[in-house]
């Protein structure tokens, strides 16, 4: 499932505390995601899913949760 794949990449790329407690709706910024780590996460996601995040979605809202990320990726995959 897409959210599971995204969650997997998030946990591998970002050092978040108690990763087992991160759910699809967990606030990733509250869990320790920083601006710089978000950039690294973005690149890992692009690499994994073969998409490129356009400027219009490059904001905190896109990366605030696993579900939010998955929703954007699904939209980008549909468009490509």
């Amino acid at each position: 499932m897409l959210t599971d794949q995204v969650r997997d990449i998030v946990l591998k790329t970002c050092r978040l505390s108690n990763p087992e407690q991160i759910t699809a709706s967990s606030d990733l910024y509250a869990a320790g995601l920083s601006s710089l780590t978000t950039v690294h996460l973005m690149l890992a996601l692009e690499d994994a899913f073969g998409v490129e995040f356009p400027d219009r979605v490059l904001g905190r809202k896109t990366f605030e949760s696993v579900q939010a990320i998955a929703d954007v990726i699904a939209e980008l995959q549909e468009q490509s």
Binding site: I9, K12, T13, C14, R15, L16, S17, N18, Q21, S26, D27, A30, A31, G32, S34, S35, L36, T37, T38, V39, H40, M42, L43, A44, D47, A48, D55, L58, G59, R60, F63
Partner: protein, 541 residues
């Protein structure tokens, strides 16, 4: 900065080309330690400060910065060869790796998390800025935006000419044009961004080794706690050691004198202390009038002497242009000063008595150089040092930004802990972070209890008609009574505002000002001129 091997010199020397912009701020100290390790292992090592960064000449608006960066790489390689090193490897980190590839100045390369292309790197920088800028407020109506075609990121500017130069760098094209003989590629974790480069290197019959750039976030993210990955250090040292043979170095050339910059000069400054050498830069006008005040700049946490967003370097040069000398230096454990390898593992280290000792030693040294009067400048822990020095030595003027604590006591510890989760303990997001285990719950509980106990004691005192004890208020009063012109400048919404309100004496206030729309380290470019005006004594508000 040269790091010479103490013994057992090997034939491979290393030129360290660090990252650019904000990443340089965080990576500076860890790369210094890597250079130390390389030298200890026998490799003569040289670290570059990029033009327009750190203590180097140039401003980020200079259009030829990229060309000067490549020229600096060539000069660095030439220096190492002149010292007698038969082989030179260039170690490039992130944007530094792009410049290393563009320079094509050596046939051995260590590429540490090189971006796939210059365009990709700048896209990352734009994204970083877009995400980080949510912490900023709106710029004032008269704020000038960066020129079109610029990239602003984390308090630093890539001007349009530099953007064009970096965007033109294609690592694969560069190695095909100038094939290196031997390369170590450390790829960022969880990406395949180096795939095409490694493939191209193999096709060119280069001797290619690959590895993982573990701990990149720890290196680049936060200058207060940045650290060098042991795994990366081991990979680099192992690669450098391979095939290395004994060598003999020539004596170093005479140390460079002053850096001359349009009527001002800068020279290295150092001070021997009980902890080793403190390193800094003396910046002075060509002709200083007698009796002018000198300025002493203190580190902001783990940020080296150039200051947050290179503001101390720029302010020092503005002061010198106005005829006033200054010293910006690193307290122990920060920048180029001696000390431990991992700076500021916790808040206690940042506010330790050792740092006060270093600040006082620097003050005394400045007076010994003939300064008739001394001003101090600091941000965050640097503001703490400014107040501590002004309480113990005559200070003419203190300009202190975002001081979160002026005395490191139980209240400051409690604030330091609770400020990690924001001003309000009743912010649900902060509690979720606590529950996620990111914060030491026991330490936080202790801090909250202490804070509550202090507030309760103050409340009881007021009920009894007694003045609550407030050593911070007393300290600020002491500084004012000594005649210091004290300016406390806070970013809008910064926790330092609450701290000052809690300790202000309404009968005896220092000058307080708020900088609207900026974060704790004042990253927005449009605010930098204001900071420099505050320091030089010409604020507009």
């Amino acid at each position: 900065m040269e790091h010479a091997p103490p013994a057992n010199v090997l034939d491979l020397a290393v030129l360290v080309c660090g990252p650019l912009g904000y990443e340089d701020t965080a990576a500076y100290r860890p790369l210094r330690h890597l250079a130390d390790q390389l030298a200890t292992a026998g490799h003569l090592t040289l670290r570059l400060d990029w033009p327009g960064l750190g203590d180097s000449a140039g401003e980020d608006t200079d259009p030829d910065l990229a060309e000067r960066a490549l020229a600096a790489i060539h000069r660095g390689v030439a220096h190492l060869r002149a010292r007698g090193a038969p082989r030179v490897a260039i170690l490039g980190v992130r944007g530094g790796a792009l410049y290393a590839l563009a320079a094509a100045a050596a046939e051995e390369l260590i590429l540490w998390a090189p971006p796939a292309r210059g365009k990709a790197f700048l896209r990352e920088e734009r994204t970083f800025h877009k995400l980080a800028a949510r912490a900023y407020g709106s710029p004032p109506p008269d704020a000038r935006p960066p020129p079109p075609g610029s990239v602003e990121a984390g308090g630093f500017l890539y001007n349009p000419a530099v953007v064009a130069a970096i965007e033109a760098i294609d690592p694969v094209e560069r190695v095909r044009a100038h094939p290196p003989r031997r390369v170590l590629v450390l790829e960022r974790e969880h990406t395949t961004e180096c795939g095409a480069l490694v493939e191209a290197l193999h096709a060119l019959n280069a001797e290619v080794a690959t590895g993982t750039a573990t701990g990149l976030g720890d290196l680049l993210e936060n200058p207060y706690h940045s650290r060098l990955s042991d795994e990366v250090a081991a990979q680099v040292l192992r690669w450098c050691r391979q095939g290395a043979a004994p060598a003999t170095l020539r004596a170093p050339p005479p140390a460079p004198g002053a850096l001359s910059l349009s009527g001002i000069t800068e020279r290295p400054w150092s001070l021997a202390t009980s902890a080793g050498a403190l390193c800094g830069v003396l910046c002075e006008p060509v002709r200083a009038a007698p009796g002018v005040p000198w300025t002493l700049f203190f580190n902001a946490g783990g940020i080296r002497r150039a200051g947050p967003n290179r503001l101390w370097t720029r302010a020092a040069r503005a002061l010198a242009a106005a005829g006033r000398p200054s010293i910006r230096f690193d307290v122990r454990d920060v920048g180029d000063s001696d000390g431990v390898h991992a700076p500021h593992p916790d808040l206690e280290a940042m506010y330790a008595e050792d740092s006060i000792e270093d600040a006082l030693a620097a003050y005394d040294a400045v007076r010994a150089l003939g300064a008739a009067a001394v001003d101090v400048v600091g941000l965050c822990s640097g503001a703490f040092l400014g107040v501590q020095v002004a309480a113990r030595r005559p200070v003419r003027r203190a300009v202190l930004f975002n001081g979160l604590a002026f005395i490191w006591n139980d209240e400051a510890r409690a604030n330091g802990m609770t400020s990690q989760i924001g001003r309000s303990l009743f912010d649900g997001r902060r509690w979720r972070r606590l529950l996620a285990g990111r914060i030491d719950a026991r330490a936080l509980a202790t801090a909250v209890w202490k804070k509550g106990r202090l507030r309760a004691a103050a409340g009881v005192a007021r009920l009894r008609g007694e003045k609550p004890p407030d050593e911070v208020t007393d300290l600020l009063r002491q500084v004012l009574d000594r005649g210091t012109e004290l300016h406390l400048v806070c970013s809008e919404g910064d926790p330092s505002i609450e701290y000052l309100r809690a300790h202000e004496d309404p009968r005896r206030r220092p000058n307080l000002a708020v900088l609207p729309g900026v974060d704790h380290t004042i990253r927005p470019l449009w605010a930098h001129a204001s900071v420099i005006r505050w320091i030089t004594g010409t604020p507009t508000t």
